[in-house]
């Protein structure tokens, strides 16, 4: 006898804000009437932190996972022990998204060392002979729009061999002059990162120009804190020896889930940076780094 248990949220995009109501239905499909020992539903919001093996030792990283921080939690008993009739049964439910005390609902974020996740879990207890059924469903929380007006703070940049730091032999470097600007370093998360880059001249042909989006996650713990920068995505904006003097657009959409408004709390931080990477034909790699501040309006 097959039973399927499913949770369907009312909103197709599953995005909710604090103070709203998460509404949906539990869908039960079974061919025959189904005996059960109770159906319960729970909603939970968690921040799970992990220390990277780089900052602390391997073992510590394994053991010392920082205790997750619970942001929100609630339970409902949907049905007492009884029977569900055969066919398709839909049981509607609602959870208000209200925090207790002064806790804030952070925005959903999937990272490497920091994860902020909201789930709804439905459990159906059954007799000893049949396995209990359960179903998880993630929903997405967007934090309230920022009240303060965002100042875009554009930035211009010029890259020449002289502006570079962290190089071994400056004399071996070919000559080049690359200029450009980012329209904003204070970015609205729902809008793309834009700007322009112009290759004014370059002795060695250019192989590729890329935009590298990087997250910087900081976890505080007893021994201090761990700070790690990892790549989220790398987008090529120019391929081959591009025309000199022609403005090439910088354009990157911030990926959903993997980015969130820049977050700073007592226990952890999530920040973002963008690197403009220029690869020359002789495989020289030139990187220019820009910290970003993301926010939601």
């Amino acid at each position: 006898m097959s039973v399927t248990l499913d949770i369907r949220l009312k909103r197709a995009n599953k995005v909710y804000h604090e103070g709203e109501v998460v509404a949906g239905v539990i869908v039960l499909v079974c061919k025959e009437p189904l005996q059960h020992h109770g159906i319960s539903l729970s909603m939970e919001g968690l921040v799970s932190l992990q220390l990277s093996s780089k900052s602390v030792g391997v073992f510590e990283a394994f053991y010392n996972s920082v205790k997750p921080i619970q942001l929100i939690s609630s339970n409902i008993e949907v049905a007492k022990a009884g029977k569900v009739p055969g066919g398709k049964t839909e049981i509607p439910f609602e959870f208000p998204l209200h925090t207790k005390g002064n806790k804030v609902l952070y925005e959903t974020y999937h990272g490497v060392f920091v994860n902020i996740q909201y789930t709804i879990r439905c459990d159906m207890k059954r007799s000893l002979l049949a396995k209990d059924l359960s179903r998880n469903c993630e929903f997405i929380v967007h934090c309230q729009p920022q009240k303060v007006k965002v100042v875009p703070t554009p930035v211009n940049f010029t890259i020449t061999p002289d502006t570079l730091q962290n190089i071994r032999e400056r004399s071996l470097l070919p000559k080049f002059l690359i200029r450009g600007h980012l329209d904003a370093t204070n970015c609205v998360i729902s809008q793309p990162l834009t700007g322009e880059v112009v290759v004014e001249n370059s002795d060695v042909p250019i192989k590729s120009i890329e935009l590298q989006l990087v997250r910087v996650e900081t976890c505080g713990c007893a021994e201090g804190y761990a700070r790690d920068a990892t790549e989220i995505q790398n987008i090529q904006i120019a391929e081959g020896d591009v025309c000199h003097g022609l403005a090439i657009p910088i354009y990157m959409v911030f990926p959903r889930l993997f980015t969130c408004p820049t977050l700073e709390t007592t226990n952890f931080k999530v920040e973002f940076e963008v690197n403009i990477v220029i690869v020359l034909h002789d495989d020289h790699l030139i990187t220019e780094n820009f910290p970003l501040k993301l926010c939601r309006v």
Binding site: R11, A12, N13, H110, N136, E138, P205, I206, I209, T230, E231, I232, Q233, N234, I235, Q236, I237, A238, E239, G240, D241, V242, C243, L246, A247, I248, P249, Y251, M252, V253, P255, R256, L257, F258
Partner: protein, 972 residues
């Protein structure tokens, strides 16, 4: 049965004719037409009137089924309804709000005058080919060491696991296919296209996306650069498929109500919805696609795939398409390779034209960016690449032309004049780049180019020769001028300037390609003098080393173009160089084809008869060429069509009153076209007609001169006919020519014709092939003999031969002819000879030829002559009765009955039934025919009615006795 004594019934044809005439009722022609569907409502009075007219009476009894063709078209036919609808729509460009709305709508739509992509597709595939080995490099798994695609995680858990499975399945399944021939390559791409569809159908959207990404990645590979345009075509096919699949899927996710509503109005997946109509699920799916694509690492796939699903922006917001187009246009700047970038632009323009033809800005942007990056073509990296691949610069440049032409075509489509002028100025600024100029001339409206032809010529002159040969530029210019006329005053200068360059082109192939184009311009705007000069120049270029041998298609096209503009053949042939030009076609098949096309135009456009010696000579020459191409291997159809063309020419030749000249033309034509029988037949007809025409002019009485002329005509026919192989054309022509000779009082000639016809009768085969099938010749022969007999009535007996020499001769031939076994044909001939003999025994003949004395006058009813006739009849009847008896023995009662009945009919009509024996014979025949009940009762009844009717006539009272003895067997 004892021999019967034939007596012919005396006939008074005048009186009979009088009796037969019903009173004449004028036919109302406004109402009546023989081809009009016959209405049953027509009353009897009408019917009488119709009998008086020449129409066949059989049609009057038909119950008038409505003509299926006209009834189909009853009401308006669907096609013209559409046409009418669109016609009424288009001119409404005038005042009022409605008008403007409509105009806006028109602007949006791409009309039929826009040459669509599929038309270019095949051309590009055929043009850009390679023999080099190609390779496909596909990484189907996600690249190792790369962060997992973030976009894909936005989809549900289920999809993510599936994605992982897929990754596992194909992780690192990097496939590199090397050493592919061009065909293999195309096949592989088609396979990918198929697997894309399969993946989509089996809900593996991620795999589908991967395939598309990998394919578009191939476009960044410019190894084997000659093949790049074709590669572009193949791969964009896949992208198109993908775009369609995504769009259709999201469309089906939309509200079903929306779909239903649009189904009633327009075909599904049409564009008639607004953003508000789209539900959240569809929007979310659509967004997912865009997020997924936005995270594609490489520039080129991201660009192409987003362009492919550009249309899906409709589901999200109103301005999405415009914004995306602008963004993608800017994004192309990041592509370093100019060729790759040009094609990416072409693709974007194409998608833009399909999805949002009203957004011209991004098109223009694309073009300006293209101009901006033009310097790269001569850049170092390109040069290195060309050296590496051993490709010459001119060849490399032509690789651009499809892309640039397409972009320009999109821009130029219904573009305002100032924009085009601006484009031209910009091109000029770029140092008159030849490649660009070429594309401009090809893409812009011919009228636009034509109006500035002088400017263009100046620009062409200024461009540097390097890379792009000038004759190609002039070719493009010529193509525009062939469709639109430049200002009157500049035309001659243009031609001179252009030809100055063209004539200097060294390679005959290049020369003829260009010259062919300019011939049209010359023909359009100038007289024969200029065209003649051009022809002379072409001859001069193409003759050395027999260069024309490689240029037949172009030379043929030259002829075709001249023929479209010069319909007056006297002008055409007065061009000195026209015939020498024709001489360049030395390959038989081509030459005949050219002659054929000339003939076709001649037949179509020569409406007046001609006697112009120039035309005649030239045409004879051309026709002779066609005729001489006929050999033993020529197909029957080919011969027929050639003969038709030649006949078409011969029919147009007329020397007016100069009959002798006409005859001598016929003599010449006969000598020239002796291998094509239909032509000979036509010539004989023509000469016969000539004779009759002479007779008409002389009003029936020939002078000595004309008499000898018509004799000459007869001689012509007499000599020509034997050379025909078809026996029936010979027979009928002998008969016809005999009749013509008789009409022209050439008695001995007529005699000779008829004698010849009789003498070849035994040669008639028993079966002939009609339209490829073997058929019995019997019915043809019977027809001919009946016709022949009818003519014999007026042919006077030859003084040196016996009485009824020709009739006897014919009957002897019939007697000796080996008829088919078991056939009644011979007897049928005998039966049909009886009316002739009866007619001959009348005092006045039914018809006669003016100025020719028939037997009636020769013998003047001489009893000896009459008894001779009767004897002959007796013999015939004897023969017929013998045959009837034989049939009776063989139990062929049906045939016996039918024959007996027809003999009865003859007796009734022509025999004198006052004679007891004859009347007894008639009664016997009647009984015989009814004995076995095969006779159709209706006919019998009608026959009886007729006899009753006849019996009331004076002198026919005896028939009432006979009728008493005729019983209707079937009724008893």
């Amino acid at each position: 049965m004892a021999a019967v004594q034939w007596r012919s019934r005396g006939r008074n044809y005048e009186a009979e004719l009088q009796r037969c005439h019903p009173e004449v009722v004028p036919v109302d022609f406004g109402d009546y037409h023989p081809l009009k569907p016959i209405m049953v409502t027509d009353t009897k009075t009408r019917r009488g009137a119709r009998k008086g007219s020449t129409s066949s009476s059989s049609s009057s009894s038909s119950s008038a089924p409505p003509d299926p063709l006209s009834s189909m078209l009853d009401g308006t036919d669907p096609l013209s309804m559409f046409a009418a609808a669109s016609a009424s729509e288009t001119p409404a460009m005038s005042h009022s709000d409605l008008g403007r709305k409509r105009r806006e709508k028109e602007d949006e739509l791409v009309g039929p005058d826009f040459e669509p992509w599929p038309a270019k597709r095949g051309e590009i595939l055929a043009r850009f080919t390679t023999t080099e080995k190609l390779s496909i490099n596909l990484f189907m798994g996600s690249d190792k060491g790369k962060a997992p695609g973030p976009g894909s995680s936005a989809v549900s858990e289920k999809v993510r696991t599936r994605l992982e499975e897929l990754d596992d399945l194909e992780e690192g399944s990097q496939r590199e296919l090397l050493n592919l021939s061009q065909q293999d390559y195309a096949n592989r791409i088609e396979e990918l296209n198929q697997s894309l569809k399969e993946a989509w159908a089996s809900d593996q959207k991620v795999k589908a996306l991967k395939i598309v990404i990998q394919c578009s990645k191939l476009l960044s590979d410019t190894s084997v650069i000659q093949f790049y345009p074709s590669k572009f075509v193949l791969i964009t096919d896949i992208l198109d498929t993908f775009g369609r699949l995504v769009y259709d899927r999201i469309w089906t996710m939309c509200d079903t109500a929306l779909i239903r509503c649009s189904v009633t109005w327009r075909p599904p997946s049409s564009d008639s919805f607004t953003v508000e109509d789209v539900n959240d699920t569809a929007k979310e799916t659509c967004l997912n696609w865009f997020f997924k694509i936005a995270s594609i690492r490489e520039l080129l796939p991201r660009l192409y795939v987003e362009a492919a699903i550009l249309k899906c922006n409709r589901f999200l917001n109103k301005t999405g398409i415009q914004e995306t187009l602008t963004r993608l246009t800017a994004m192309i700047r990041g592509i370093g390779d100019p060729l790759v970038a040009a094609y990416a632009r072409a693709y974007l323009c194409r998608i833009g034209m399909e999805v949002a033809p009203h957004l011209k800005d991004s098109l223009n942007c694309n073009f300006f960016d293209l101009l901006g990056t033009f310097q790269q073509i001569s850049g170092e990296s390109v040069r290195n690449q060309l050296v590496q691949q051993r490709v010459e610069v001119p060849e490399y440049l032509t690789l651009y032309s499809p892309a640039i032409s397409w972009i320009l075509q999109c821009i130029a489509y219904r573009a305002p004049e100032p924009l085009l002028t601006e484009m031209m100025e910009r091109c000029k600024k770029l140092g008159n780049n030849a490649l660009l100029l070429n594309s401009v001339m090809r893409a812009f409206r011919p009228e636009f180019v034509a109006a500035r032809a002088t400017d263009f010529i100046a620009m062409i002159k200024e461009c540097d020769e390097a890379g792009f040969p000038k004759h190609l530029l002039f070719g493009s210019l010529g193509r525009s001028l062939a469709c639109a006329d430049p200002p009157e005053s500049e035309r001659l200068t243009i031609l001179n300037e252009a030809w100055k360059v063209i004539t200097k082109v060294r390679s005959p192939q290049d020369y003829v390609n260009c010259a062919e184009i300019w011939v049209e311009f010359t023909c359009r705007n100038f007289t024969k003098r200029e065209v003649n000069t051009v022809l002379a120049d072409i001859i001069k270029h193409m003759t050395p080393d027999r260069a024309f041998e490689d240029a037949y298609p172009q030379l043929q096209s030259v002829i075709r173009k001249i023929l479209t503009y010069f319909h007056d053949f006297s002008v055409l042939f007065s061009m000195e160089r026209f015939l020498p030009f024709l001489d360049m076609f030395q390959k038989d098949s081509v030459r005949v084809e050219v002659c054929r096309s000339i003939m076709e135009v001649f037949i179509k456009h020569q409406v007046e008869f001609t006697r112009d010696p120039v035309i005649l000579n030239a045409m004879l020459h051309i026709c002779k060429t066609m005729h001489d191409s006929v050999n033993a291997l020529t197909l029957e159809d080919e011969k027929r069509s050639l003969a038709l063309l030649i006949i078409g020419f011969i029919r147009m030749v007329s020397f007016g009153r100069d009959f002798e000249q006409q005859l001598s033309f016929c003599v010449e034509a006969r000598a020239t076209f002796c291998n094509l029988e239909p032509v000979l037949v036509q010539l004989i007809h023509m000469v016969n007609q000539l004779a009759m025409e002479t007779r008409r002019v002389m009003r029936g009485s020939h002078s000595r001169k004309t008499a000898s002329f018509v004799r000459a005509c007869a001689a012509y026919s007499y000599i020509t006919i034997p050379s025909l192989s078809s026996i029936f054309s010979r027979l009928s022509l002998y008969l016809l020519s005999g009749q013509v000779a008789l009409a022209n009082q050439c008695l001995s000639q007529a005699d000779a014709f008829l004698k010849a016809a009789v003498s070849i009768l035994p040669e008639v085969p028993r079966s002939i092939s009609v339209e490829g099938k073997l058929r019995s010749s019997e019915s043809f022969l019977l027809d001919f003999i009946s016709n022949f007999l009818a003519t014999l009535l007026v042919v006077p007996d030859h003084p040196e031969h016996g009485v009824l020499y020709l009739v006897r001769g014919l009957l002897n031939m019939v007697q000796d002819y080996t008829w088919e076994d078991n056939s009644d044909a011979k007897v049928r001939v005998y039966i049909s000879a009886l009316p002739l003999l009866a007619a001959m025994s009348q005092e006045t003949y039914l018809y006669s030829i003016p100025k020719v004395d028939s037997n009636e006058t020769l013998y003047g009813g001489d009893p000896k002559f009459l008894s001779e006739l009767n004897k002959l009849c007796d013999t015939l009847i004897g023969q017929i009765l013998d045959h009837l008896k034989a049939l009776g023995r063989d139990e062929n009662t049906r045939r016996q009955g039918a024959l007996a009945f027809s003999l009865f009919a003859v007796l009734l009509a022509h025999g004198d039934l006052r004679n007891n024996k004859l009347s007894q014979l008639a009664i016997n025949l009647w009984n015989l025919s009814h004995k076995h009940g095969y006779c159709e009762t209706r006919i019998s009844v009608r026959t009886l009615d007729y006899i009753k009717h006849q019996a009331q006539q004076p002198d026919m009272a005896h028939l009432s006795d006979t009728i008493q003895r005729l019983a209707l067997q079937s009724r008893t």
